[in-house]
Symmetry: C2
């Protein structure tokens, strides 16, 4: 019985890659990932067999990883951020559950799976911005490639109505350019124009930029595929210290100060 590690590489900086993940990586001899994520791991993977499949070939990556492990090869399937959050882990379980019988390998059943979490973009951006997700928050992917837009729009309204702090994953792509503007307009029905908004680009990587703006001033042109967009709730506040500008969402302790 061979182990398939579903391994999170974190937002980018190798400083976020914990000992437990390092240990899993040492065990694995075969690494399956989008190439960029492997590059970020640098020297840690110099003696490994690499299988780099491009963006768009997610199902193929999951299938390859399962097949390698089923063949008795110690394998790690790697995603950036947290592999459990909008990433590859779920595809492995979907394949185990739903693949056509013809495409299924009966030995997949015996693969030992170990999922290793990592720092997701929402946490990296939160840590740079102050403490915006200190109270109830949600994540919403704005990609309607696999989720009908009506479902996304319902969630936007629910998140607005529930006054959750929101992190938007997949806010735009080359082919999707209107969803974030629509999300902004929906949220303006629920939150003040000056609600804090933070844009985090290339988080923990070279050329990281953090931009503070407001919901009304959020300019879709500032956002690209590598940007995480975070919108405060109605309680989120801005403050400035000598160091820089911060945003925090109070837990309600204020009255006791």
């Amino acid at each position: 019985m061979t182990t398939l590690y579903l391994l999170s590489s974190g937002p980018g900086d190798i400083g976020y890659f914990p000992p437990l993940a390092r240990k899993a990586l040492e065990q694995a001899e075969h690494l399956v990932a989008y190439g960029l994520y492997l590059d970020l791991l640098g020297d840690l993977i110099s003696n490994k067999q690499r299988y780099e499949l491009p963006l768009g070939e997610e199902i193929e990556r999951a299938r390859l990883a399962l097949n390698l492990a089923a063949d008795g090869k110690k394998t790690a399937l790697i995603s950036s951020g947290d592999i459990g959050i909008y990433a590859m882990a779920t595809l492995v379980f979907e394949l185990l559950d739903n693949a056509d019988e013809s495409a299924k390998n009966p030995q997949w059943q015996d693969v030992i799976i170990e999922v290793i979490p990592g720092i997701s973009a929402i946490q990296a951006l939160a840590s740079r911005s102050g403490a915006p997700i200190a109270h109830d928050f949600c994540t919403i992917s704005l990609s309607d490639l696999l989720t009908p837009w009506e479902v996304i729009e319902k969630r936007l309204n629910a998140a607005g109505d529930g006054d959750f702090v929101i992190a938007f994953y997949n806010p735009v792509s080359r082919k999707r350019d209107w969803q974030l503007e629509k999300a902004k307009q929906i949220l303006l029905n629920y939150r003040p124009e000056n609600t804090p908004v933070m844009l985090g680009k290339n988080l923990s990587r070279a050329n990281e930029t953090i931009t503070h703006t407001t919901l009304a001033k959020l300019d879709i042109q500032q956002v690209d595929m590598l940007t995480l967009v975070m919108v405060g709730n109605s309680e989120s506040k801005r403050i400035e210290t000598a160091q820089k500008q911060w945003v925090y969402t109070p837990r309600g302790y204020g009255k006791k100060l």
Copy 2:
């Protein structure tokens, strides 16, 4: 100008404590935390000055950490999990923003703050369970000590209506025993009785237990202060391999398998 590290110690297992956090800990000479969280760091903190304040003295901990740093002492304020998620980071910013002038130290303004994220309980439980938070999810604290119950109830309905996967932080405490049952009843208005529910107790620590149940069968007696409760959305599915039972939430790729 002295740095105050707002440092996350992760769910418990020191294997989740990444190099960047270790480096911050090496820099800090004064550590402020609830005692248990310091114990989990073991040998890493053997030569440090420890300031252990009990549960309930959160504001005092944040104030002490700010005061130490303002006095030129290299200080780390430490929370388990992610210090930005239902934890101490936001209290530091609340104090900077809102403390009575009489209780404020003008030198707080010059403290350099560095927030270091960590693995939160939701990620630890997700990784043990499979891939339940692979699509849109939210977190809700069921503690009504600092948030009015009406706000929490509104969020429960919003999360139900929006079909978010939900993680409940602070599900019960010695003094709070009815909120989780109420939350369950609200969600049953939106989700099937057999919706997967996972309970994670002592995550990544000795005596970790993961319990799989359903929304209808969720027994509040199984939940204590150290338990994270996760409720799947209407799409979340259970599967079993030779190894164990898993829950995953599909991203919608199913149709392409």
